[in-house]
């Protein structure tokens, strides 16, 4: 029998339609749910009144659906706790999958295999708003995933996602289960885009895609909230950007309140026309119906698209970092991407003072200021002697997640601090940083975190021998890190950002005269020899030790040449650079000569 993944490549797959609407139509009584205290808990029906759920499955299988969803939208302990039956999460998830699997077994034929998707809803809590911790949420999802897969689900559908951090917790829990069970089923992740055009907490579709793209998931898409027409703009965004196949499961229109009941007006033909358009013109490969859709909607949908091959797409994914709200590409035109560095205990006295006073709102204000100053991302470092870095990071980032619209660069040397930070970020963060100073120790600690939480990482060209000074060594170290990260840890090259480092030209030491040249050359070669990776540089190191006016100018001119060499991102404080046109010819020329070491010599007799 072909697998879901086989079929996904071969043809457009059709999910079933609404479960809740169908169950409501069956006029169930409190007794069917096992008593008044459980009335309305649809997930209990798989044991209290399995025939009602079987009716739903049967109608959709008869309508021709390739995939039916288990009656387990809220079978996690978090949701079941509302009915005081949190302890039954595994049992009900297992039963839901088993029930559905028995149905598909009797319908499946080699020519038309049917699959069971384990439905995993958003629960009732939003971790970004502090309703629940990431870990607690992940644990609950892990239990639900275990129940569903062990009960026979062929794939999992993490659906109706409201908060990207919730989605990440669901993925974390699911992958934790896969790791412990040493097995894996395909995963669909489906977000919900509200009528206002973003997810509930304000996340843009592109930003959600950026945050979820690093995960090892099979299909990405959207469901619920609106009808297909309102989704069309967002489907288009996914179609143009997503490297993964796309899933679309709209409601039968926007619900209208008719006499206190939600009424969905979109007829099966109109619903089908839209989804057919998505499939044929935009390249959507998995479709289905959410609230308000009926077996007739699905029957017509199957008739229209069920035997089509997926339309090929040419997605153009833009490697980026993201916040809960928006994404910032790792390369901009004109360059560079500016990383604000003031929210850093090592670099800013103001920040240190606020930290000492635990003035969290003041720190948030600094983060917001970075936006005004034109930064595209913000570096956050809470390492301050004598303080609990982990706790401080938690205080800062739980606020930044919802209050600062820029993606965060998590700047720490401590893996536990980084992990804590990642559990607070709805967006895709950048970790600063890894290197080979102690061999592969840091890589071993950090790269699994990048994979588990979907983060990009900055890698410094340092190895066991110390900071690389020549272009050759910088490139060699970058290549070594690249190979470990890509081949051993499955990182994508676009999530590796190399910092070729630079030394000051201000000391006059013969050893460092070529520091600028070596760094510029390394940037060009890393970009050329390791396709897809990005480069970053802390520009102001070049002028360390010089007087402020000279530093200001040298930083600015060096940044200019670094960009010419191919630099993508710069860690810089706007107050420490100035526009090139403001620097007079002579000053510019002296800096150029210094950077390229154009000293003039005279031969003298020995």
């Amino acid at each position: 029998m072909p697998s879901f993944t086989d079929m996904l490549r071969e043809k457009v797959l059709v999910f079933d339609g609404a479960t809740g609407t169908h169950l409501q139509g069956q006029q169930l009584t409190a007794d069917d749910f096992g008593g008044e205290h459980l009335n309305g808990c649809n997930e209990i029906l798989v044991v209290s009144k399995p025939s009602a759920v079987q009716n739903v499955h049967r109608d959709y299988l008869d309508a021709g659906a390739d995939i039916i969803e288990t009656d387990s939208f809220g079978s996690s302990s978090i949701v079941l706790a509302e009915y005081d039956i949190a302890h039954r999460a595994y049992e009900l998830s297992f039963a839901a999958a088993k029930l559905a699997k028995e149905m598909t077994r009797s319908y499946s034929t080699p020519g038309h295999p049917r699959f069971v998707a384990g439905s995993m809803g958003p629960t009732t809590k939003l971790p970004s708003l502090g309703h629940i911790t990431f870990r607690a949420m992940a644990d609950s999802y892990e239990e639900q995933a275990r129940g569903l897969v062990e009960g026979g689900a062929d794939l999992l559908c993490i659906e109706t996602c409201q908060d990207v951090l919730q989605t990440k917790a669901a993925l974390f829990g699911t992958f934790a289960y896969f790791a412990s069970a040493k097995r894996r089923v395909p995963i669909i992740v489906s977000i919900t885009v509200e009528t206002m055009g973003t997810m509930l907490l304000g996340t843009e579709v592109g930003s959600a895609l950026v945050s979820l793209e690093p995960y090892d998931i099979d299909v990405i898409g959207m469901n619920c909230a609106t009808g297909p027409m309102e989704m069309s703009e967002h489907v288009r965004t996914l179609a143009s950007m997503s490297p993964k196949p796309i899933f679309v499961m709209p409601n039968a229109g926007i619900p209208e309140n008719v006499g206190g009941h939600a009424h969905y007006h979109l007829t099966p033909p109109d619903f089908t026309k839209f989804l057919t358009h998505f499939v044929k013109d935009l390249g959507v490969s998995v479709v289905g119906g959410c609230c308000g859709t009926t077996p007739e909607h699905i029957r017509q949908l199957v008739a229209s698209v069920g035997s089509l091959a997926p339309t090929p797409r040419k997605p153009e994914f833009i490697p980026s970092a993201s916040s809960l709200y928006q994404y910032s590409p790792l390369h901009l035109d004109p360059p560079p991407v500016l990383v604000g560095e003031r929210t850093n205990a090592n670099g800013s006295k103001q920040f240190r003072d606020l930290l000492a006073k635990e003035d969290w709102e003041g720190i948030v204000a600094m983060g917001k200021e970075a936006v005004k100053e034109g930064a595209h991302m913000v570096d956050v470092c809470a390492a301050y002697v004598g303080r609990d870095e982990r706790k401080d990071m938690r205080e800062i980032l739980s606020r930044f997640n919802t209050q600062v619209p820029l993606p965060v660069v998590i700047d720490s040397t401590e893996a536990p601090v980084i992990e804590e930070a990642l559990q607070l970020m709805g967006g895709k963060a950048v970790i600063n940083s890894i290197n080979l100073e102690d061999g592969e120790e840091r890589i071993k600690a950090i790269l699994p975190l990048c994979r588990s939480y979907g983060a990009a990482v900055i890698a410094l060209t340092i190895d066991e021998e110390g900071m690389a000074k020549t272009a050759d060594r910088k490139v060699a170290i970058a290549r070594r890190i690249h190979d470990i990260a890509v081949h051993r840890y499955g990182m994508q090259p676009h999530d590796l950002i190399f910092d070729a480092l630079t030394f000051t030209l201000g000391s006059g030491d013969e050893e460092f005269r070529r520091a600028g040249i070596e760094t510029l050359e390394a940037i060009t070669r890393i970009k050329r020899e390791l396709p897809g990776v990005k480069t970053i540089l802390g520009v102001s190191n070049i002028s360390f030790g010089l007087a402020p006016a000279a530093r200001h100018v040298l930083n600015s001119v060096f940044l200019h040449y670094a960009i010419e060499a191919g630099l993508d991102m710069a860690i810089v404080h706007a107050a420490r650079i100035m526009p090139l046109y403001k620097i007079d010819e002579r000053g510019r020329e002296i800096c150029r000569q210094l950077i390229f070491d154009e000293r003039r010599f005279e031969e003298v007799p020995a």
């Binding site: 288009r236 007087a547 000053g587 800096c591 210094l594």
Partner: protein, 569 residues
């Protein structure tokens, strides 16, 4: 470099040179620091340098020689243009661009008090936004300033704006153009997507694009090709003004419209075809840019999407509950019109008390009585028919969608707009077959009988109340059924949420009853009766062509987005 270091002596070291140079020089360019004698130059430099200190004094000095608007349009914007060039060539980073924009904003805020707005009447409206995913609004806000100060109305939607929001605003404000701005390269892709969405919905409003990452070539070749209306590249804010002037004057060159695709494609853009006037008006007309009336026909669009009805022919509906009908009763028409309970000289409070204490209880009781005694028995017969227009005539076709089945002739306005009901349907010459709906609704024979009984028993108050409710219920049923038909046609998405607004045509399309100005010929109802077989629900057309029972009404249902009530002059 030399390979014999031990024999070399450094005669020039840029490091010592740098230290020496900046021991005596400040970092910033000398020339820039010297204060120019000319206030024009000083102001321009302030914008470029992002230098706000002393700005107001310079502005006040400039005001002695120039009107405020000219200071903005020439001096300050000239500075911003330089900023744009420096940014584009990589000589200026974003933080400094933002500082320049701050100066610009401060200056405009100061100058605004000295400007007389061009005129109170706006010359035209532009909906303006930074596209989805982009937060940069400097360029966009400059366009806003310039257009506003030149007499245009600008609906500025801010940053990160989804296309749906722009289209909604363009519709709501009857905009003549949409301006999209964006700084990032990814924004140019979003602009392309936006234009594709608009194309698929059959929208043709002119679109003006601006932003650092755009090039004329990209806009005029790539973007123009994907859109059905004009696409214009604005190199700077003044281009935006120039284009608005051309759009309002109707002199926009045909060149601005993309390479003409084959007609079939234009007319059936997928989302347009899916009838999607559901929520968005299928068509925007650019105010005065609408094509002039040619010949006798009105300027009503002939390329709107044609909905597909769920069935062809006529159908009877019986299972309609009175509660549903009552929900659509226009209580204002009932109470003030039929029942003649008017405010007159009563105070607001007294009138409200009358309504609360007397009228509403009567109404509630009466409704209940109608339900329990089945005094009102709603019936509907309705249907959809293939049709085409020809001049002033609407031709209803046989099922073969070719042969003429019936023909209705409607009057045409003489004056201004030359409107005629026939114009809302696809003309025969287009080759397309349109759809027309007809409906006939009644509150049943019992309504007429009960009214007559009350009248003859001399209980006039009861008669007045019941008769009024029965007549208004027929209207309510017609309203309810029109709504159902809109939903079936897939054009219900534009319906007003508030039932009361439905009474003032808060929906797409229109319902024209025979006897009203657009279709005054009562005899034409015979056609409707033949199409629907109206007698099936117990309604009869009398010799004088009135309906019996009186608590009945009929209508032609038009789906065209421009169709509204009009008078024949």
């Amino acid at each position: 470099m030399s390979e014999t270091p031990k024999t070399r002596k450094v005669v020039y070291d840029p490091l010592t040179e740098l230290m020496a140079y900046y021991a005596t020089h400040t970092a910033a360019k000398k020339e820039a620091a010297t204060v120019s004698a000319k206030v024009e130059d000083r102001l321009k430099q302030r914008v470029i340098d992002g230098d706000r200190v002393g700005l107001q004094a310079d502005l006040d000095e400039a005001l002695k020689s120039y009107p405020a608007l000219e200071i903005i349009n020439t001096i300050l914007l000239d500075g911003m243009k330089t900023v744009g060039e420096l940014f584009g060539s990589g000589q200026m980073q974003l933080p400094f661009v933002l500082q320049s924009a701050e100066v610009m904003k401060t200056a405009v805020a100061h100058l605004e008090q000295f400007m007389d707005k061009a005129s109170s009447a706006s010359k035209g409206t532009m909906v303006l936004a930074t596209v989805k995913g982009d937060v940069h609004d400097i360029g966009k806000n400059l366009v806003d300033i310039i257009l506003t100060n030149n007499g245009y109305k600008v609906v500025n939607l801010g940053i990160k704006c989804p296309i749906e929001t722009m289209l909604h605003a363009a519709d709501e404000h009857k905009a003549a153009a949409i301006g999209m701005s964006g700084l990032l390269v990814k924004s140019t892709l979003i602009m392309k997507e936006n234009l594709e969405v608009m194309k698929e919905r059959g929208i043709t409003i002119p679109v003006i694009l601006g932003g650092a990452a755009l090039t004329r070539r990209y806009v005029e070749q790539d973007l123009r090709a994907v859109y059905g209306g004009p696409v214009l590249y604005a190199n700077d804010a003044f281009d935006g003004l120039r284009y608005m002037e051309e759009i309002m004057a109707g002199s926009l060159g045909a060149v601005a419209v993309g390479a003409p695709e084959d007609e079939e494609d234009v007319l059936t853009g997928t989302e347009a075809k899916i009838a999607l006037a559901q929520r968005e008006d299928a068509r925007y007309t650019a105010g005065d840019a609408r094509p002039a009336v040619t010949g006798r026909r009105s300027a009503v669009a002939t390329d709107v999407p044609i909905p597909t009805p769920p069935f062809w022919g006529a159908k009877v509906v019986e299972q309609i509950t009175l509660e549903d009908v009552f929900a659509y009763v226009n209580e204002v028409a009932l109470i003030r019109g039929q029942w003649q309970v008017r405010k007159g000289k009563l105070t607001e409070d007294t009138y409200r008390a009358v309504l609360e204490d007397k009228v509403h209880p009567v109404l509630r009781k009466l409704k209940q009585q109608c339900i329990t005694e089945k005094l009102l028995q709603p019936g509907v017969v309705y249907g959809y028919f293939p049709c085409q227009s020809e001049g002033d005539d609407l031709i209803i076709l046989q099922d073969d969608r070719k042969t003429e089945r019936e023909r209705l002739t409607f009057p045409r306005q003489n004056g201004d707009r030359h409107l005629c009901l026939a114009d809302y349907f696809a003309p025969r010459s287009s080759g397309k077959v349109d759809v027309v709906g007809f409906q006939l609704v009644t509150m049943g024979k019992k309504a007429a009988e009960h009214s007559a009984a009350l009248f003859s028993s001399n209980v006039y108050a009861d008669y007045l109340y019941f008769h009024g409710l029965s007549v208004e219920s027929a209207e309510a049923l017609a309203e309810l059924w029109h709504k159902t038909m809109r939903a079936e046609l897939g054009i219900g998405g534009k319906d007003a949420k508030d039932v009361r607004r439905l009474f003032s045509q808060g929906y797409q399309g229109s319902r024209y009853s025979f006897g009203y100005p657009a279709c005054p010929d009562l005899e034409a109802q015979t056609v409707l009766f033949r199409l629907l077989d109206g007698e099936r629900i117990g309604v009869r057309l009398t010799d004088e062509f009135s309906l019996e029972p009186e608590q009945s009404t009929n209508a032609i249902i038009v789906h065209h987005p421009e169709a509204k009530y009009f008078n024949i002059k």
